[in-house]
């Protein structure tokens, strides 16, 4: 399945995670934007209005939860997938309260990413 028209923002402070996610999303046909902290994600979102955002939680400058809140405040239809290595009850609760579209535990595998893209396509 191709996701040619999708513009995806990947926000993670790890260059490794950004690269792996970007490489796979591009293989799927998406165009990918990158942000390395929550504040940059908010700034890029406002400018580029991507279809989908993959957001880490623990990051310097601004956390993924806070960034998600600000993005949703700017665009209540924003689709932010929170991807964190620490899927604690608190994080899950925070993600839902912030208005996250989905919450997934890292490391993300390719099947998971494809599912997220497919679900997005079905919904929109």
């Amino acid at each position: 399945m191709s996701f040619n028209s999708l513009k995806v923002l990947v926000c993670d402070d790890s260059i490794l995670i950004r690269k792996k996610l970007k490489d796979f999303l591009e293989e799927c046909g998406c165009s990918v934007l990158e942000a390395l902290d929550g504040q940059k994600a908010v700034d890029i979102y406002k400018e580029e209005k991507p279809d989908l955002v993959f957001m880490d939680i623990v990051m310097p400058v601004k956390s993924g939860i806070q960034a998600t809140e600000e993005i949703i405040e700017f665009d209540k239809n924003a689709k932010v997938v929170i991807a964190s290595s620490s899927g604690t009850k608190t994080h899950l609760k925070q993600a839902l309260e912030a208005g996250a579209y989905e919450f997934v535990q890292k490391p993300l595998d390719e099947a998971q990413i494809k599912d997220i893209l497919t679900n997005y396509n079905k919904e929109v």
Binding site: V58, S86, T88
Partner: protein, 294 residues
């Protein structure tokens, strides 16, 4: 995990060298367990009995089990039980050491018995440990006696070891844990866990060890200690700590993480309740550390 710890025990007892142990750890994945090794481990036969069966086997074309039954060492029920038992981790290591002529069957049998005696373990307990009762393993091998959160440390290292085996490399030798208050590092990745309890976690090593570890974890072939290597080390620590937070959250303890950070050529001082476990990998030596946040 018990395989690695049992290997370390053999090393501490000077029954094998580091090189022999590393070679056997690498070789063991291709080893097929022999019935004799299983029978010795189960306490059904001694190394001497095995030798007698082998002597007969050199003259008669029969299976080991058939001869052992004929000689009265085993019966059908015992053979079936042995054959149906799971591939036992540390026994594969034992078999590898014997196959490679680093130990005799007798030496391996003695080592198992010394281990059982030193840690007051029955055959069944040894089996349950080998089948993955990690905390029991850690309790028998590593004590965190003077630590207010000893149980938390045990859970943390148990998780760490399981994930090293899962995501990095099963061929490693864990050394004893050391209580430390200062530590000089060449390269270090660190992350703080905070909330109801405060812990600082660290992974330290030299450049070569970092490159080797990161390459295995990321399944890439890194040649230099660049930002990808450092990000890989950070991500491994983040992954372990994330899983630790999930486990703690399942026990209703909610914790948070700081972003991980990488440093080079420095000294940690005035560490509180700090423990360091050194692990020797084929690609180098890595220190895994945990301390109470000041």
């Amino acid at each position: 995990m018990f395989t690695q710890l049992f290997g370390s025990f053999l090393l501490n007892k000077k029954l094998v060298t580091t090189e022999q142990l590393m070679d056997a750890l690498n070789y063991q994945s291709s080893v097929r367990l022999k019935l004799g090794v299983l029978a010795v481990n189960a306490g059904y036969m001694t190394a001497e009995d095995i030798k007698k069966v082998h002597d007969v086997q050199s003259k008669v074309d029969k299976k080991f089990g058939e001869i052992a039954i004929e000689m009265g060492f085993l019966d059908d029920e015992k053979v079936n039980k042995l054959l149906s038992s799971q591939k036992t981790g540390y026994l594969l290591l034992g078999q590898a050491l014997v196959d490679k002529n680093y130990m005799t069957m007798k030496q391996f049998e003695d080592a198992i018995n010394i281990y059982k005696k030193e840690y007051s373990l029955s055959n069944d307990e040894l089996q349950s440990i080998d089948n993955g009762d990690f905390n029991k393993v850690l309790s028998s091998f590593y004590g965190f006696d003077n630590v207010s959160q000893g149980e938390v440390y045990k859970n943390y290292f148990s998780l760490l070891f399981r994930n090293i085996i899962r995501f990095v490399d099963a061929s490693f030798i864990p050394k004893e844990n050391k209580a430390i208050s200062n530590y000089k590092y060449q390269w270090m990745v660190t992350q703080n866990i905070f909330g109801n309890i405060g812990l600082d976690t660290y992974i330290c090593g030299d450049e070569k060890a970092f490159i080797g570890f990161a390459s295995k974890f990321s399944q890439e072939n890194y040649n230099q200690n660049d930002e990808y290597v450092q990000a890989s080390m950070g991500e491994f620590l983040n992954q372990i700590n994330g899983l630790f937070l999930v486990n703690m959250s399942n026990n209703n303890v909610e914790l948070e993480l700081t972003p991980q950070a990488v440093y080079s050529n420095g000294v940690l001082t005035e560490l509180s309740e700090a423990y360091c476990i050194t692990i020797e990998f084929p690609f180098g030596v890595i220190d895994f550390m945990i301390s109470k946040s000041n």
